[in-house]
Amino acid sequence: MPNSLRQTKKRVCWRWIGAFCFLMFFLSPSTFVSADQRSVILATTTSLQDCGLLDLLIPIFQRRTGYFVKTIAVGSGQAIAMGRKGEADVLLVHSPEDENQLMREGNGVNRRRVMENDFMIVGPMEDPANIQGMRSARDAFRKIALSSWLFLSRGDHSGTHAKEKMVWSLLRINPEGEKWYQQTGLGMGETLNVASEKRGYTLTDLGTYLALKKNLRLKVLAQGDPLLLNPYHVIEINPIKWRKVNAAGSRAFSEFLLSKDAQEIIKTFGANRFGSPLFTDTGKKREILGR
C-alpha cells in the first residue's frame, strides 16, 4: 500500500478518537443532573450570599439532611416575587412590609424571624450635612434633605430600599425627582461604591459595609435607631397553593435556621473577620423589640 494512503488512514483514525473524547467530555451525565425531590430552591438576598454566611450554613444543612439547596441570590423584592409565583420553596428575606403582603395573599406560611442586624447611614468623611452621631434616623434623613447633599438610593425594591422609603414617608418627604436624590438600581455593594466615588450618603446594612470597607471612603455617621432594625425572616411557600413546592425540604431548611447550631453560627459570624458579629440571633434582640 502506498505511504500517503496509510498516512491518511492514520489521521482519520486519530480524528475519530478526538471527536469521541470531545463528545464524552461534554455529554457526560453530570452535566445533565436535573432537579429532583431532594433539591430546595432558596430565594434570598444578595447581601446574605455576599457576606458569606450562606456558604457557611448551607453545607451543614445539606450534610445533615441530604437536601441540595439551590440558592438564588437576588434582591428581597425579587425573592418575594418568586415566592408569590411559587417559583421558590423557601425565602430568607428582610423586607417586612412586602413579607406581610405575601403572607396576607396566602402565598407564604410559617414566617419566622431568623436573625437581625441594623441599617446605618454612611456618608463622606467630611459629613457636609453634619449628621455624625445622630441616633434618630428621621432627624438624620431630614438634615440630609435640607442640606440637599447627594443621597444615593438602591431603587431596586430590595429590603434596604423598602426601609429607606419607609423613613422618607414617615417624614412626609417625597425625595423622588429631587436633584440631590439619585437611584442606582444596583445592589448594595455597587451602591456603596457609587456613594464612595460621588461622595454621597446612603443607607446600608452592616455586613455589606464591613465587607467592602477597605475600598470605601465612607464612614458610619448615624446608627442605633430602633427604626433601622433589619430583621430577616424565613418564609415557607404555601404548598397547598403551589403544588410543585418542596414542602418537606422548605420546612427542613426553616427548622434548621432556627436550630441551636445554626443560631450559634449566626451569632458569631463575622466576629473574626470584622471584629464584631454581623448579625444577632433571635433571642437576644427580643428585649429591644419588646415594646
Binding site: 467530555f25 461534554f26 455529554l27 452535566t31 445533565f32 443532573v33 436535573s34 432537579a35 429532583d36 430552591i41 444578595t46 450570599q49 455576599d50 457576606c51 458569606g52 456558604d55 448551607i58 441540595f68 439551590k70 440558592t71 438564588i72 441570590a73 409565583k85 411559587g86 417559583e87 445592589g187 448594595m188 455593594g189 455597587e190 465587607a211 467592602l212 477597605k214 475600598n215 403551589w242 410543585k244
Partner: protein, 232 residues
Amino acid sequence: MDLIFQGIKKAFYLLVTFDPEVMGITLLSLRVSGTATLISLLLGISTGTLIALTQFPGKRFVVSLVNTGMGLPPVVVGLLVTIFLWRNGPLGFLGILYTPMAMILAQAVIATPIIMGITVAAIQQLPNKLRLQILALGATRVQMVWILIKEARLPLLAGVMAGFGGVVSEVGASIMVGGNIKGYTRVLTTATVMETSRGNFDVAIALGVILLMLAYTVNLILTTIQQKEKNR
C-alpha cells in the same frame, strides 16, 4: 492598577495550586458553553444551510431576522428562558430551571442565530456553479449539502469561535437561568459578578483572567485548525 496586578497574581496562584473550586467553575464554564456551542452548531448549520440553499417567499425577511438574532441580548434570552422554565411555566414540567441544562439551553438560544447567520453567509458566498459541479459529479442532494458545508468550513470555524466566545463570556442569561449556585451552576462569569459585589476585586479579576485564558485557548486551537485547513 494595583488591583489588576493583584488579580493577575491571584489568577496564577489559583491556577498553579489547582484550587478545586476554581477548577470546577472553569470546567463547568467550558462544559456548559461547549455543549451549548455544539447544539448550536447542529441547529445553526443545518437550518442555515437550508435557508441559504432554498428559495422561498420571504427569504430576505428570514435572513434579516436571523442576522438580528445574532445580536440577541443575553439578558432578554435569560428572562424569556426563565419564564418558560418556571415550575408553573410552559416548560416547567422539565424541571430544569437552575440547572446546567437550563444554562446550556439559554446559551444555545444565544449562539444558534450567530452560527446560523454565519452559515447562511458562508454558504451563499460559495460560487453558484459549485452546486451544479457537485451534482454533475453524481452527488445526491444530501452529498451535495455535505460537500458545500465542507467547502464553507473556514468561515464556519469562525462561526464556532464567535458562538463559543459569545456564550462563554455571557453573564446575564447564565445568572438568571442558572442562579449562580455554588458547585452546581456557578461559572466563571457569574462568579466574577458575585465576587465583585462581595468586594473581592482581586478574586474577580483573577476569574476574569482565567476566563480570558480559557477563551484564548479554545480560540487558539480553532485558529490552528483553521490556518492548517487554509494551507491545505
